[in-house]
Amino acid sequence: MNIRTTATLMEPDQIRRAVKRIAHEIVERNRGVDGLIVVGIRRRGVPLAERIAGYLEQIEGQSVPTGILDITLYRDDFQTITSAPKVGRTEINDDIHERVVILVDDVLYTGRTVRAALDELIDFGRPGRIQLAVLVDRGHREIPIKADYVGKNVPTNEGEIVEVHLEEVDGCDEVILAEKPA
């Protein structure tokens, strides 16, 4: 799909600072990192989760486990899409019972992805708490979901696209705003 970039919302340095700040906020709100597990939502939530966990370890000197959540099987749009999308692996190797799960995604938009992630997470066990960290919140929620930690709030129109590119996946760090093709 050819999209036309109209603006760069975040440069690499801005992303770095935002993620570091989120890590600090997590430590502050949870009074440390005991019992935390940082779970990234596939696809780009995963490297973000890794980065956050890395910062948490730097700040508190304690390693924090991470996990990967693939929400394909929990999507709510099976009735409208036309073919079953490919499923990736979910990897949550630690027991989440009674733990604080930091769910991480790149962009928070309608909220449906997070809804699916919550349903799946709860099928793994009963977490003590779930907190949501996103790099970009672009508004236009269709479900009552709110992020606990936000890298940047970006007001957008429905015809616009917000894309997060990360070094680990795309080869560079940036957040861009673009227009959908007509």
Binding site: Y74, D77, Q79, T82, S83, A84, K86, T90, E91, G125
Partner: protein
Amino acid sequence: MNSLNRKHLLGLEGWNADEINTVLDSAVSFKEVSERSVKKVPALRGKTIVNLFFENSTRTRISFELAEKRLSADTVNFSASTSSVKKGESLRDTVENIEAMKIDMIVIRHSSAGAPFFLSQIVDASVINAGDGQHEHPTQGLLDIFTLREKWGALAGRKVVIVGDVKHSRVARSNIHGLVALDAEVVLCGPPTLMPVGIESLGVKVETNLPRALEGADAVNVLRIQLERQRAGLLPSLDEYARVWGIDNRALQYTSPDCIVMHPGPMNRGVEIAQDVADGDRAVILEQVTNGLAVRMAVLYLIGGAEMARDDETTETSGGQVNARPKTQEAA
């Protein structure tokens, strides 16, 4: 394009490597689901699947039923011990009656080759072949290949030997189609009276001598020998079969050191497979069962998981099926 472009799974004939790998890749994820404490995902919620089993089969039916339930589908079981033709109701009528209750998929096992194909021509639902006569048992083929792939990664160039009653085996036929599509080397071994005419044209070698067949084998898939074959005059005795073609430790000496032993079950211990081989550490028979569940979940998910655009001009033939093309692909 990652997903399958097929409305039915009637057999592995005509499936290419990409399609097979798509199913197996998905099966990896589904295997993980069965390791969770809540072994259920909502992917097929609201879908109705009918298991139409005209042949007795406990294990395959249970495997499909569990797969369906773990995908949150509603399942209905219809077991008939003989073809409904004999009871007076034709297969067409039986199925049309069931379909009138608005179902999404039919999983059918039937003693007549071509019965799933026949169904696919008369129903709107997706049809999954759980074994039709001596024709194909595609989910068994897929799970066998999945088991091999788990061991080796790629199958290209690996030597797989299928031993036993190939003539009457739908498992063998499905395995052959899939393995050849993935560039494995396939050798068939068994008594000549149980080897079907013309099978070499499927891209396999035939060898009657077991040690020669097993030389350097990376995997042996052992087929069940049924008592009826002896009664039908195709074999002198099960004892002789066991001595000449039975897979025991002596036979396994000829294979490669990491060779694995598979069996579709149920086993006749002491006939086609020796007791100690069945329980030995080369045998992956129980893994096959676990994999069977994951593979069936993958198949049901990929074929039934979304509304396929129903194209009135689709044509189905038994080899190389062409199916409804989805009208649009969702953006990934």
